[in-house]
């Protein structure tokens, strides 16, 4: 079998071999740089954290993997510098928000964390607020419907109620108690104005409900009145 040296091969049949970083696409370095820079921004808190390092690694892996796809690399490298810069800034801000852990300062570039951890238990608890009417009957109040800005599609208000109640029950100081009472007063007022039952409310009662995660193996469900509030 005749072997051709490279010199003998016609030039058009020469395999085009580009450096490895070009084959991956030059942009991946930049993407990776952005992720690392953003990660480093939060270094004071997180870089020594093994889990944060893993998170950065996963992000770099996905972005550089995408950039290794020739059509995407071509698209990004073919972008006008202004458009590319805009894209970089937006991506950079997203990562900055993710790793800087300063939601209040970088809003709306925030930490995207949803259901990424927790402590399993046999039971879960939440709170329910009941209105006690003049005839001693009780109706369940739906705070999320009273404040749709917060409640529609989220559990913002329910979380605030739980958090404030826990603070008031654990710390038992005047400030926490006043804060939770102020929240109940708001709910009372909103229910009076926007609630649909049209009957006078005498007081509010907060009931903590505990439910088993599994009915076969878990504990019995329970209810306990943990707070009472009356308008002054």
């Amino acid at each position: 079998m005749k072997r051709h040296s490279l010199e003998e091969q016609p030039s058009e049949t020469l395999p085009v071999v580009s450096p490895w970083h070009r084959r991956l696409g030059p942009e991946w370095l930049l993407w990776g740089g952005i992720v690392l820079a953003a990660g480093a921004f939060g270094a004071t808190l997180n870089l020594q954290n093994r889990r944060t390092a893993l998170e950065v690694l996963l992000d770099v892996m996905v972005i550089s993997g995408l950039t290794a796809v020739p059509v995407w690399a071509r698209y990004v490298t073919g972008l006008n510098p202004v458009r590319r810069l805009f894209l970089m800034i937006m991506v950079g801000l997203l990562f900055l928000g993710q790793f800087a852990h300063r939601d209040l300062r970088l809003f709306p570039f925030i930490n995207w964390a949803m259901y990424s951890g927790g402590t399993p238990g046999d039971a879960v608890t939440h709170e329910r607020i009941f209105a006690i009417l003049d005839d001693d009957s009780r109706i369940l109040i739906n705070p999320e419907r009273l404040f749709p800005s917060l409640g529609m599609g989220t559990h913002r208000l329910a979380n605030a109620i739980s958090q404030r109640l826990n603070q008031a029950l654990v710390e038992k100081d005047q400030e926490s108690t006043a804060a939770f009472n102020a929240l109940l007063a708001s709910i009372f007022e909103a229910q009076r104005r926007f609630g649909d039952h049209g009957r006078a409310i005498r007081s509010l009662e907060v009931v903590r409900v505990s439910l088993p995660v599994s009915k076969k193996h878990g504990p019995e469900s329970s209810r306990e009145i943990v707070w009472r509030w009356e308008p002054s």
């Binding site: 998170e55 996905v62 995408l66 698209y75 202004v82 709306p108 951890g117 399993p120 739906n142 705070p143």
Partner: protein, 432 residues
Amino acid sequence: MMRVLHTGAPPSALTALRVLLFGLWFLKAAFDPIERLILLPSVLFIPPFPLNLLSDAAAGWFAGSFEALVSLRILTALFALLAASGLNIRWTGVPACLLLTVYQALVRSYGHLNHAELALLLSTYVFVGQAFIARTPRLREKQAEHTLITVTFLFCLTYTLVGAKRFAFGGLDVFLLPLMEGWSVNMASRVSYWDFGWGRYAAESALFAGMLRMGFVVGSIMELFAPFALVWRPFRLAFVAVMLPMHAAILMIMNIGFFENMAMFVLFMDMGIRRNQSSCIVLFDGVCHFCNRFVTFLQRRDAGQQLYFVASQSEAGKVLMQQYQISGEEVGRTIYAIEGSRAFSRSTAVLKIVSHLSAPWHFMTCLAVIPRALRDAVYRTISANRYRWFGMASECRIPTAEEKQQFLQTLEEVEAFRSSGDKTPLAGETLK
């Protein structure tokens, strides 16, 4: 063959995205009674940027002032509406973005984030930013394509951030331990805005709990690799097939609605693809105002110039009716789409016709999944009342000089169209 999603997207796709983004914000601002937030105690109010730039007193006044919140609501709705209507997006989009940021910061001040709203907000920033870039004439080229790709990429990246965080911080425990069941039972049992509460079944059925965990794993993997939906069609289809039902399931199971995310899934429909490459003759009632308006609508959106129009009252119309054995009575009741040797009528004709249009209009072809009897019933209702609702012209539509290229009027023009084959565009001069 791999291609980047939305490559070659037409300007109409940009319009659709603009209407989607600002339309959703308009609806939110119009129907969300944010002024009720003044009832909440100031102790709950912890403002993020940009409200934290204000002094405590000023921020407190803003959050507690009915007038300020109503003004914010009205202005947000107004600017979102103006931006959605396309009225100078650079002038309306920036105030809209500023107002939306304040609106979102206000809501955020009272508690947990709504990630779906934030994905929409970031997409709105990108849209307005791209509009600013396109201010320079040399950067105006392919604006629709670049805007759609950037918005989709960043939207996907938000999923990646969620997925990476979950895998890094949750590890295997988050999938193996009964956390998902706990969250589902708890969220479903809480008093929520929505009350579907299917999550309660997780406590009763091991099968349901197992399905939840499996869905959580699959959804998390999809989230992590979301940006690949931009370049790899099979993954994109799988992503939509998993994530869209997953968002719906989260609403049903945990009473949490990712409505904005679900609406933004239209971004995964490739706006750069033209569905139908063949030519089509539209045989319509030339004296009907409604039909004439529809024809004008089609002309404006037929970027590939594949549609040719024939009024049933014209000479060409009569020839086609004879050839396709369409009675005069019938053509008065329905529009016809003629593709090759086949003539389609009623709603099927409309769907055939819109399949020739540029994005997003050609996506209406998905309405073909509705049974024909139902579609035709709607069509018949409109058809039967079209003269009464929209009026009738005394004579047949005469095409203007610009329209003549797409209108066939005489027997010769029809024959020339036939002999030129489907793919040859018609030019008035070459016909005669």
